[in-house]
Point group: C2
């Protein structure tokens, strides 16, 4: 395999387990069996290595979420909450059969990256993800017209939090179906009564 890919694989594993600041370039090149200078040559800097790793994991998920929403809206003008939840969270569980070591790594990377406070991580994300998220927010708003926008926004943040739950053990795609049950019920709850 080419060095570039081995660096990506090694970085993916280490960023997932130790976070951005907890991972040194030396650790990455050692694990990849490459030379210390390789990261500079192939990516330019540690921050750009992170961007490449994150792109590789997140872009397919984002695309699947967007396409899932398109497909859903093409089929019906009024998708249910459960359908929206499935389209949004499904891709975060797809291609990650339980037991597969690579899946565990990617899942953990999502957890770590989505929660990493390092500037290099926070700055990279945002624009890409936000576009998809906003489209879902709008769709949920229409499916839950009686819910005040502030509480809906809180629930969407709750959804994001739950999708990062560690899912190391569940067999099959149990976690995926559990997540849909959990989130569909949470989103469908009647609005909280005001003070």
């Amino acid at each position: 395999m080419d060095t570039r890919t081995q660096l990506l694989d090694a970085a993916e594993e280490l960023f997932a387990e130790r976070g951005y600041n907890g991972t040194s370039i030396r650790a990455v090149t050692n694990l990849a069996g490459a030379n210390l200078a390789a990261v500079g040559y192939h990516f330019g800097s540690k921050a750009e290595l992170l961007a490449a790793v994150a792109r590789r994991v997140i872009e397919p998920i984002n695309n699947a979420q967007r396409e899932g929403l398109d497909r859903l809206l093409g089929r019906t003008a009024e998708p249910t909450v459960a359908e929206l939840v499935e389209a949004f969270t499904g891709p975060m569980f797809d291609g990650m059969p339980a037991g597969d070591e690579r899946s565990v790594r990617r899942s953990r990377l999502l957890v770590t990256i989505l929660g990493d406070p390092a500037d290099e991580v926070r700055n990279w994300m945002g624009p890409v993800e936000d576009a998809v998220r906003d489209r879902y927010l709008e769709a949920f708003r229409r499916a839950l017209p009686e819910l005040p926008i502030e509480e809906l926004w809180f629930r969407i943040k709750g959804v994001l939090a739950v999708t990062t739950v560690d899912r190391l053990e569940p067999q099959g795609d149990a976690a995926r179906r559990w997540a849909v049950t959990f989130l569909a019920a949470a989103l469908s709850a009647p609005p909280t009564a005001p003070d």
Copy 2:
């Protein structure tokens, strides 16, 4: 204020915003207006400083959760799901009026600490928290007897994830009540049908 406390305050703020590995002892002592050597003198090491910070934030929450459960079980042998959720999540929102700068900091510290992959963070937590969590798990199990234990466990992890949702903007204790609504509905959902 004594130096020790100022170091704790400064460290709390910086760990919350940049994580453990992203925070240097220099940054802490600068913000605290103390000397670089002060951390070594008062705490021994950076890792022990973190432990002191985490203890100060988490212990009161843990105690309140334990006492809340005791109170609940003293009143009724069969608490409802909503009552259990309130007892468990309430303390994570208490003493944190929105708008108060210190509250924002503590809330963010919880988010960062509960998700920080650094060994120094992960190793510190665990035993203390687990005892309380297990008691709640048992109580939820009794309140939801028809739910398979594996799915219940997944839902508990979902609860933990949601309690770390950033709650910077909501006014009053709206976030607290929204969280209870969200989580009570999620936990009360019927079991997911098996494959």
